[in-house]
Amino acid sequence: MTWTAMNWTLAVPELVLACCGMGILVFGVLSKRETFQLCSMLTIGAFLLTGVLVLPGAYGVGYSGLFTSDAFSAFVKLLVLVAAALCVVVSLDYNEHVNLRRFEFPVLMLFCTVGMMLMASASNLMTMYVGTELMSLAIYVLAAFARDELRSAEAGLKYFVLGALASGLMLYGISLVYGFSGSMAFDKLAEALADPASASPGLVVGIVFIVAGLAFKVSAVPFHMWTPDVYEGAPTSITAFLGTAPKVAPMALLVRAMATPFGQLLVQWQQLIVLVSIASMLLGSLAAIGQRNIKRLMAYSSIGHMGYVLIGLAAGSVDGIRGVLIYLVTYVFMNVGTFACILAMRRRGKMLEGISDLAGLGRTDPAMALAFAVFMFGMAGIPPLSGFWGKYFIFSAAVQQGMWTLAVIGVLTSVVGAYYYINIVKVMYFDAPEEAFDPRPASLSFVAAVGGLFTTFFFVFPAPVVAAAEAAAKVLFR
């Protein structure tokens, strides 16, 4: 082992981010005053700095094969960093308001992001596991952050217990794969499994367990049970975070794990992904209809969206993976924007979560209603908003692979899903107005504007995102 083989510089963004996190932690602990705002700003700065370090794209394999930096990982890392930074911005005012102004909050989000970046670069089953744990552990704590509130504590505990079970399943799967193939490195696995006939049933069972563990993290059916309760119980700023970056990283990891080491076993895992995808789309669109609480509605909506994303993976082609990445980008911006609007739902200092509380928003706050409507139409997949293009790339990839059933079910469920998204628009514009919300803080308006502009004008400049996604997807199919 020589130092050149280590290639440790590949992980400089992660190292810098982790060091920044420890620095901010020490600063927060030592300072006598309340430093929530300052630490949040520093965290956003650290995210920006890390993003700048990711951009130049030093690609290669480092740490004796544990860590890979390529176009795919860079794409995912940038998306995760942007999502995390926007979520910190969103939390600034909310946490101040509901008395969660503690500097550990941004620090935990930062370490969670380190975990997600590690997941994006994982090229060994062990890196995959450690990255996932780093991410999950931080989120368990964040979900229970409002510890004096019963719902929040319950959310944290529920997520922790079920998450531990999912981790156990994943570890068991990893051990089976290791036992039956003799390696944990993605490239070695790909070599060993080059001949699909050589895959023993034990290995396939291992893959099933790994998929189950990751499907839990992206809350795909049938591993979704925790989602509505955790979304509802967690502090809303954390719900916003949960719906974005921590969905992107496990999804990217699932894509990489399925495409690189087990790529030759497409037939083995394809039907599994197809089943999970169909179940998620159906549940996401049907169960959301009866919801009265907007956070629960967003939980079911995210389940449905993950179902659509999985279509792209099931297609198992460059176009499919490209679709996955584009969908995730559009999803992150719509989701962050929606939650910025939800966080602005406050009347006389009291946070509101009911869909009926939005009644008449079109007259009392036209700007916010417009932004909200854009996100809802975007999530429903109405052209020309970005949500439509995400679905377009996914469905066209599925059709190219001849997976008509998936594409048809996808289109049908998005029509059903459109009902509850557009219902919100109806409530905002056609129901009798209630008392106006409190004035919006600038930070929320900013995030809603960023999300809204991206969602609206994505169709004007889709080229950079599409090209980057294409380059990233090609890496996995060399």
Partner: protein, 229 residues
């Protein structure tokens, strides 16, 4: 010969005590059997030539983890009889699932093939001439350096999480304030009382510390310090 004999002795004790861990009625006995299990496992490691793992097992598991278990079992008054209540009721379902899983496991393991080089590797787990502590060290700190550091971050997050979720600093903790301690004089706290001979405490009653009550926090402080004088 002796090594084989030792192996069987330790292995049998290990299996028996491990089954006692789950079957003992008294949780304290379970933990004690667990410690016995750890010791025997350590002995087996020693026989296999993994002395570092053997020592770590004794130090970390027996020294820390098992003692922690013992504390938890004795301090948290868990009603184990109550926990077992549902056992009879769920036994049929649980047993069915267990049997199904076992059958599946056998079906999976039916495809097990040992790698060709596994047999030779099994007989030479240790590279000659390299201490196995050094070998583990190289694995941990060179080959899996990244994972080692990342695990450190996981532990850091766990620590932050534990503090965030449980530490309640309401400002009424009895912290030592040296300047206050030094500023106190005997006149602040002590009262000289004349007690009649043979009357005991009857006349005087129990004296409370001479502190003004209005400020509860300060009162708590003085109470605490009273103990030192």
């Amino acid at each position: 010969m002796i090594a084989t004999l030792a192996f069987y002795v330790f292995a049998v004790i290990l299996l028996v005590s491990a089954s006692m861990v789950v079957s003992a009625r008294n949780p304290v006995h379970s933990v004690l059997f667990l410690i016995l299990t750890f010791f025997n496992a350590a002995a087996l490691f020693l026989l296999a030539g993994a002395e570092f793992l053997a020592m770590i097992l004794v130090i970390v598991y027996v020294g820390a983890v098992a003692v922690l278990f013992l504390f938890v079992v004795m301090m948290l008054d868990v009603n184990f009889a109550q926990l077992r209540e549902g056992f009879q009721r769920y036994l049929p379902v649980g047993a069915t699932i267990g049997v199904v899983l076992l059958v599946e496991l056998f079906m999976v393991l039916g495809g097990w093939k040992f790698a060709p080089e596994a047999a030779s590797l099994r007989f030479a787990p240790v590279t000659p001439g390299v201490h196995n502590t050094a070998q583990l060290g190289r694995l941990l700190y060179t080959d899996y350096f990244l994972l080692f550091q990342a695990s450190g971050l996981v532990l850091l997050v766990a620590m932050i999480g534990a503090i965030v979720l449980t530490l309640r600093d309401k400002g009424d903790g009895r912290r030592q304030d040296i300047s206050r301690q030094l500023a106190r004089t005997a006149a602040d706290t002590l009262v000289m009382v004349d007690v009649a001979t043979g009357a005991g405490m009857k006349d005087v009653g129990i004296l409370r510390p001479k502190v003004a009550e209005p400020e509860p926090v300060a009162a708590a402080h003085d109470h605490g310090h009273g103990g030192h004088h």
